[in-house]
């Protein structure tokens, strides 16, 4: 066995007992080794030493077990390469190269691809030292973190599914209005086509009337396909795609989609959309989820309002020159001022059928767009929820330059 440069201090070595017999020393040593081996097995941590000059590598038994190689087999980089995941081989080469030159402690994560095609995730920590001859030597531990890694992956997946739940719940309540949106043009298509047939079946046929109804059929069919296209854009589970987003357009699309929902709740929607609103960089679908969520909250807050018009104002405006702000103002029940801090927490809800996910997801979407989101109580009844997101860089730069030009013209 290679001489360990740093004997493990926490392993009870009883070798220093004065007058101990060789036999008892050996016994103690075996005991200590057994402790070490058991500790490595329990923590799924192997260790190795690597003398850089000679490429002499020594593994602990546990490391052989992690690599699923026969204990005691001579360890070479060739042998290691047969196990390291092909995608991590370059990383391995790089680490080895740096280790040969460097002489620094290092730490890295890599994967093994086992013969049964399973993957192991390993975390290695290496400490640099010099052996008795002053030669570079690394002492390292390698921990099998597969279980932890898999649970982290499961957690991340659960987290993104949670975000999906928020979509699906709004989707659920929207299903009715979607059906309405699609059935409306379909109804027009069926009626117009029926009329067209009847007009052609008379004697003499009413060709001009038939032509007009056929034209309407085409128009309604296009309308239906527009609705489908909007829905696909809104609810597709595609990954984040960053593009220039005009919040005014995003608002109009959301309104068009939830129109019948809003009508059913007898909301009066007032749009106060700023002209010349700069675009922002972001994921249009996600931002529409946020807007949709604010609309639904505002709508829900006003269901019990019967003594005043259920007015909802959606306003867009420039904010501090380089931001765009969107706010949704209702005249509903408002919220408890003491709960302001909790409004955006996950699972905080004041609704009987709510999950308390919408605002928390909304805020994380806004924050992912480098923006912020907040709520305030109105002077009158109800509350206003707002978010503010930086404009696209090019646009704000262009806006600034146009301001400059304007000023210089003025100065001249």
């Amino acid at each position: 066995m290679a001489q360990p440069a740093h004997p493990a201090k926490d392993v009870p070595l009883e070798t220093s007992v004065p007058g101990a017999s060789l036999e008892s020393i050996e016994k103690a040593l075996r005991r200590s080794q057994a402790f070490l081996a058991e500790g490595q097995r329990l923590s799924q941590t192997g260790s190795f030493s690597w003398r850089v000059a000679t490429d002499e590598i020594t593994w602990s038994e546990q490391l052989y077990r992690i690599y699923e190689l026969e204990v005691g087999a001579p360890v070479t980089f060739e042998l290691i390469r047969t196990r390291v995941h092909p995608e991590d081989l370059t990383l391995l080469e790089k680490m080895v190269e740096q280790a040969r030159d460097g002489g620094n402690d290092f730490e890295w994560h890599y994967r093994l691809l086992m013969p049964d095609h399973s993957i192991k995730y390993l975390h290695a920590v290496a400490h640099v030292t010099r052996d008795r001859d002053g030669q570079l030597e690394y002492i390292a531990t390698v921990q099998d973190v597969t279980a932890r890694r898999l649970s982290e992956e499961a957690r991340d997946k659960a987290r993104s599914e949670l975000a999906q739940v928020a979509r699906v719940t709004s989707l659920g309540t929207l299903t009715a209005s979607i059906a309405h949106e699609v059935n409306q043009p379909l109804s027009g298509i069926v009626t117009n086509a029926s009329t067209c047939l009847r007009m052609l079946s008379t004697d003499p046929p009413n060709v001009e009337g038939a032509r007009e109804t056929a034209r309407r059929t085409i128009r309604d069919a296009n309308r239906a396909s527009d609705v489908i296209a909007r829905l696909r854009a809104l609810f597709s589970k595609k990954d984040v795609s960053i593009e220039a987003v005009n919040l005014n357009d995003a608002v109009r699309e959301v309104i068009a989609l939830s129109c019948s929902d809003l009508q059913r709740n007898r909301l009066i929607v007032r749009l106060e959309l700023a002209g010349n609103l700069p675009s922002i960089s972001g994921d249009r679908v996600q931002l529409q989820q946020v807007i949709l969520n604010l609309l639904r909250n505002a709508s829900d807050a006003m269901t019990a309002v019967n003594d005043r018009p259920r007015e909802l104002v959606i306003r867009t405006e420039r904010d501090q020159n380089d931001h765009v702000r969107l706010s949704v103002k209702d005249v509903g029940v408002g919220f408890d001022p003491q709960a302001t801090d909790r409004l955006f927490n996950a699972f905080y809800t004041t609704k009987n059928d709510g999950m308390g996910i919408g605002l928390s997801v909304s805020r994380s979407i806004v924050e992912n767009h480098h923006g912020r989101m907040w709520a305030s109580l109105n002077d009158g009844p109800g509350s206003t929820f707002s978010f503010s997101i930086p404009c696209r860089f090019e646009v704000s730069a262009a806006a600034n330059s146009s301001v400059t030009t304007h000023t210089s013209v003025k100065a001249a």
Binding site: S187, T191, N192, R266
Partner: protein
């Protein structure tokens, strides 16, 4: 929008269509006229109630979800005024509870959009016969 197509204007011979959707107001009257009826379209329940067509209407084709007064509201309002106009509801929303309520209150038929011309004609005939 209130496109009356005059036919034999006897007492209560008018079919009224009330729907906030423009494409319905555009397409349905043509079809109903092809059936041989006189028809007039309204964009809101309030608009219909305020018109002088109420007393001439022999059948009402009525949308459920409309801004302001809904189709069910109009049904109730007519009953409150003791106006027994047969109603055919048309809606894009498959809501069984609403359908049952409408039929319980005496609607002649409840058609889900899109509906066929024969289904509409059948409903119209039974409404006018009553």
């Amino acid at each position: 929008m209130e496109s009356a197509q005059t036919g034999t204007a006897t007492e209560r011979s008018l079919i009224a269509v009330v729907d906030d959707d423009e494409s319905v107001r555009e397409s349905l009257p043509d079809l109903i006229q092809e059936f041989g009826f006189t028809v007039k379209a309204f964009s809101s329940a309030e608009g219909f109630l305020a018109s002088d067509s109420v007393d001439r209407t022999c059948c009402l084709i009525l949308d459920i979800a409309m801004p302001g007064m809904s189709g069910l509201d109009l049904q109730r309002a007519l009953q409150d005024r003791r106006l027994k106009i047969p109603i055919i509801f048309i809606t894009g929303q498959k809501d069984e509870a609403v359908r049952r309520r409408a039929l319980d209150r005496g609607a002649v038929a409840f058609l889900f959009k899109p509906f066929s011309d024969t289904a509409l004609l059948e409903a119209l005939n039974s409404a006018v016969r009553n």
